[in-house]
Amino acid sequence: MITDASPAAQPELEPLSETSEEQLLEIAMGPQHPSTHGVFRMNVVLDGEHVVRLKPVFGYLHRNHEKIAESETYLGSMPYTDRLDYMCPITNNWAYALAVEKLAGIQVPERAEYLRVIVGELTRLQNHACLIGFLMQDMGSSGTPLMYAFREREKILDLFESLTGARMMCNYMRFGGCRVDMPAGWLEQAQNVVREFPRFLDEYENLLVSNEILMERTQGVGVLSKELAINAGMSGPMARASGVNYDIRKVDKYSIYERFAFRVPLGAHGDVYDRYMIRFLEMRESLKILNEAMRDIPAGPIVDPKMRIRGFRPKPGEAYGRIESPKGELGFYLISNGSLNPYRYRVRPPSLINLTVLEDLCIGQNVADVVAILGSVDIVLGEVDR
């Protein structure tokens, strides 16, 4: 049962001693738990309030995505990718489209690339804003930052809706371009949203960045070392917070990202605070990209005219297309045997790979920190379980 619940102050991160097994308390956090970000379970073994072991259990949301995709046409999988990471469907579309384009050697028109960058970075904005909001919610700030994030996300989702017809299940990309062009007035509306976004970031900064309670809760908590980040294959803000300079937008230079002047923020400590500040700074960099892209977008076709929507059969071969999704490296691996559907279809979900270090981050921490650490990993169970 409970051992160290005495009111005396407990030293932070005391070395764990061999407590006999029966004194440990095992609690199942989830699958019905408010801060597991979906149907996710952590079997946490506690010594007092300190985590001794943590076993993540997932698969509650498994939908057989990869196997279904192998019996669908190439295009037929596109709407399913929306449902992987449902917070940012457009980047999922993008990664899949990129993989198929690599497989079939399709060129994407200039205007479509710009459109992709614009919607992709808007997706990053709303994902990061919501993530920070959720992280604060996990730390118990009764949803205020989350509501501010949702207020801004709403504006971005309105943009998505008027562009693609849906707020979340956008199904926007097509092989060789995008499905529809911007409706009249969309660009001005988007520019407006981007212009007003910094005000929201300032609001966040006032509310959170120098907050003592927040700093105390997050600094030095859940430290991920640079070595472990590299060895465990971390990507995205998670890796960059640990000081790993790895941004696929810079590494692969896919799409037209080399045209934009943006910087990659790097953390020095790799704790929860760094992970959330990196996302904060990335939002500011995304705004720069958005401003440039919306200024420079050329006229022209939005989809490769040679591309046929039906009867698409890429020649036999394999391809791996990856992008820097808001969560990290999102990749799709495809093998074609020349038929209508892929022979093999595999997703490299950033959420799942980033989740693998959860136990390493949580051991020795307080049980209250577990939810904060989980929040800072930024998982979406649709993507983890697929």
């Binding site: 049962m1 409970i2 051992t3 160290d4 619940a5 005495s6 005396a8 005391e14 070395p15 001693s17 061999e18 407590t19 029966e22």
Partner: protein, 166 residues
């Protein structure tokens, strides 16, 4: 012997008897708090307001909670139920009953029993404070020392010495 006293006495005795007789240790402590509260109410009835409130604060608010904490911490998850009573429970009960018999006999035959209730004394908190600070200042200081020693001692004894033994 008023009705109020009777009610309070019944509550107190029932609570304490339950505390000593129940099988579940936590139930025992909960029943005991009823007994303590009953004693506190009797103090109030005896116009000892300050003592009564202190009794509630110390016994219900601190000692009972402490006991409950101790029970939780020493809880063994083994399903086998150990016997509640000691092996010489019969002897113990007999001794207790004998003590009560002797005490009751002494009380009933005492000369003090003939006294009536004197008029209600006016005891304000200020008077108690004055007495503590003047007449009883030495006991107060000693008590402070004792409490400090007890505080440190309890912490030292209860502290987990796992790090040292390693």
């Amino acid at each position: 012997m008023t009705v109020t006293f009777l009610i309070l006495a019944v509550i107190t005795v029932a609570g304490t008897a339950a505390a000593m007789g129940l099988r579940n240790a936590v139930h025992c402590v909960l029943a005991l708090t009823v007994g303590f509260a009953g004693v506190a109410a009797i103090y109030l009835q005896l116009d000892a307001q300050f003592v009564g409130l202190t009794q509630i604060m110390v016994y219900v608010g601190a000692v009972a909670i402490l006991a409950v904490f101790a029970i939780m911490m020493t809880h063994t998850p083994l399903p086998a139920k150990p016997p509640t009573y000691s092996s010489f429970w019969l002897l113990g009960s007999v001794v207790a009953a004998a003590v009560f018999a002797v005490l009751a006999w002494a009380i009933c035959s005492s000369a003090a029993s003939t006294q009536g209730l004197p008029p209600e004394p006016e005891v304000s908190v200020q008077q108690i404070g004055d007495a503590l600070m003047h007449q009883f200042v030495l006991p107060l200081e000693i008590m402070g020392l004792l409490l400090t020693a007890a505080l440190i001692g309890a912490v030292v004894i209860a502290m987990d010495r796992r790090e040292e033994t390693k």
